[in-house]
């Protein structure tokens, strides 16, 4: 089968690889119909996630048709068209029982700090991902959801990560009616977080980034005020000024490790890889939120130490909330939002690219070329 093949930092290609097999009685084999490239895949692509091995296939946002199921799979059957959450969750461990499906304790042998994630290095379990024609899906009765009748597959594929992550970012912010919410990052997740902030009753939503076409997209899609931080001087001072010098009620970090804006953070976090990423957005988030406010973190950082002004967290009495989205927990609510037209995920998709052109797709997305917001890879069978 065709599958994306990681060869080292900034190098990926399409190759023939062996078909996946049932390795566990609760496995399913799924023929992929849509597979996105996620902003967090770029951390792998750039070589900044430890234990990302040459030969791995990335991809944790995908839909597909069930081709085969293991002997213990009861709910899914061959032919079901499913959306597959990016979390791999057993459904039985104490954390899954608490609906922390992003923190499963039976899906990642290599690290205890994160549950298993499809195609996301050995630090997240060593599973091949969905940027391929076929993929092995463990615990098939737990995570995958049959795509509801009438739902556009393009909406469905974005319910595997982007929508739940953006929604949970807003949810963790504990937004109250009238709150001012600042979102750092105008990538797909940041844009979705800004859109979802309104659902929780935000009174004002401000997005900060530096990529103008993405800011323009956010202004229309969320809708929101959207600023290029390079035009603001010190973005923290700007945000204080525009909130009666108190700061925002809720600030969301939807950037993570690849943040621009600080030469020191860029050097330590992105060039020398001496931190778990460049923490500029988180630094600004902590400093621009109101005293007693909430900082919600969904941006992805590496596992090693990262420089943030933790003293200000103490002195301002902040609440920090963070997690990988618990996709399974959120899906019923989000499906309802899509059905009612509160959310329009597929509008984020700007590029539909054949799987065979995966290296160009990564470069396009990584370098922010051609107005790219969200690229979707289409395997040959999904194009016929």
């Amino acid at each position: 089968m065709l599958a994306m093949n990681y060869r080292g930092p900034l190098r990926v290609r399409i190759d023939e690889k062996p078909m996946p097999e049932i390795l566990h009685p609760e496995d399913a084999i799924v023929r992929v119909t849509r597979s996105c490239i996620c902003g967090s895949d770029l951390h792998l692509y750039n070589g900044s996630v430890p234990d990302t091995r040459v030969g791995m296939t990335f991809g944790h946002e995908f839909t597909g048709v069930v081709e085969q199921v293991g002997p213990e799979v009861r709910k899914l059957k061959a032919g079901d068209h499913v959306l597959v959450p990016f979390n791999i969750a057993c459904g039985k461990c104490v954390f899954c029982q608490q609906e922390l499906y992003g923190n499963c304790h039976e899906s990642n042998s290599q690290a205890t700090a994160v549950g298993g994630i499809f195609g996301y290095s050995h630090t997240a379990g060593g599973y091949n991902g969905g940027q391929a024609e076929y993929v092995r899906v463990p615990y098939a009765d737990v995570g995958p959801m049959v795509i509801p009748e009438g739902m556009d597959p393009d909406d469905a594929v974005l319910l595997t990560d982007v929508v739940p992550t953006g929604y949970q970012a807003a949810e963790m912010g504990g937004i109250q009616k009238g709150d001012t919410v600042v979102v750092f990052g105008a990538g797909p997740v940041g844009i979705m977080a800004a859109r979802c902030a309104w659902l929780f009753g935000a009174g004002r939503v401000i997005v900060i980034d530096w990529v103008e076409y993405r800011l323009e997209f956010a202004r229309k899609y969320a809708p929101c005020e959207a600023y290029d931080f390079r035009s603001l001087g010190d973005p923290v001072v700007f945000l204080k000024h525009t909130t009666d010098s108190l700061g925002a009620d809720v600030v969301i970090d939807a950037v993570g490790a690849e943040a621009a804006g600080s030469a020191m953070q860029t050097l330590l976090g992105r060039k020398l890889l001496m931190q778990g990423g460049s923490a500029t957005a988180l630094h600004w988030a902590i400093n621009s939120v109101k005293k007693g406010g909430i900082v919600s973190i969904v941006g992805v950082y590496g596992p090693i130490d990262t420089l943030v002004p933790i003293g200000n967290v103490v002195n301002k009495g902040l609440t920090l909330r963070a997690n990988q989205a618990s996709v399974k927990r959120l899906l019923p609510r989000l499906v309802e939002h899509v059905r009612k037209g509160h959310l329009d995920p597929k509008a984020l998709i700007t590029h539909r690219i054949p799987l065979e052109h995966v290296s160009e797709a990564y470069r396009l997305f990584s370098a922010k070329l051609d107005g790219c917001i969200k690229p979707v890879l289409l395997p040959p069978s999904a194009r016929n």
Binding site: S107, S109, R204
Partner: protein, 163 residues
């Protein structure tokens, strides 16, 4: 300088999930005190171990299911095995893994060559996308790269005056 504010009442779905109880914030822990029972839940069946799978020393065993992509190999594999002697809380774990990743990239090229495949760097780096959408910058970067390389080669191959 400031942009016009959005009127929330005109945003579709505004406030439908508002909840004054959501303070300090959802998701609140769905507490069942199960964690007090320790590692006692009924585990899923154990996946057979067909390939070498390294596991964190912060857990006693392999998870019931695990990925089998790209087992550790060669020199990078030796470094990874060493890294897994240290906990996730230690630089002794993460820094060797980063080193192993870089070594593994070189091993990947050697493995390609050993199988008679010369990596097509222009394709793997996705430069076609740059050519189509960012040509000026690509040409400038290639020109600078070529210039730096030429100067370096000229310097390293120069004839010394005393030769």
């Amino acid at each position: 300088m400031e942009q016009p504010r959005i009127d929330p009442s005109r945003v579709k779905g505004w406030g439908v999930d508002a909840d004054p109880e959501n303070d300090p914030t959802y998701p609140m822990k769905k507490r069942n005190n199960g964690e007090h029972a320790g590692y006692t839940w009924e585990r899923p069946p154990q996946q057979p171990t067909g390939v070498e799978v390294l596991h964190s020393n912060e857990r006693p065993n392999l998870t019931a299911a695990f990925g089998t992509s790209t087992p550790p190999v060669a020199l990078s594999g030796m470094i990874r095995r060493l890294a897994f002697k240290y906990s996730e809380s230690s630089y002794g774990h993460w820094l060797p893994l980063m080193l192993a990743d870089r070594v593994n990239a070189v091993e990947g090229v050697l493995d390609d060559l050993a199988h008679g495949h010369v990596p097509n760097l222009i394709d793997e780096l996705g430069w076609k996308a740059e050519w189509e959408h960012n040509r000026k910058s690509l040409v400038a970067r290639v020109a600078v790269g070529a210039l730096v390389t030429s100067v370096a080669v000229a310097y390293l191959t120069r004839k010394r005056r005393d030769d």
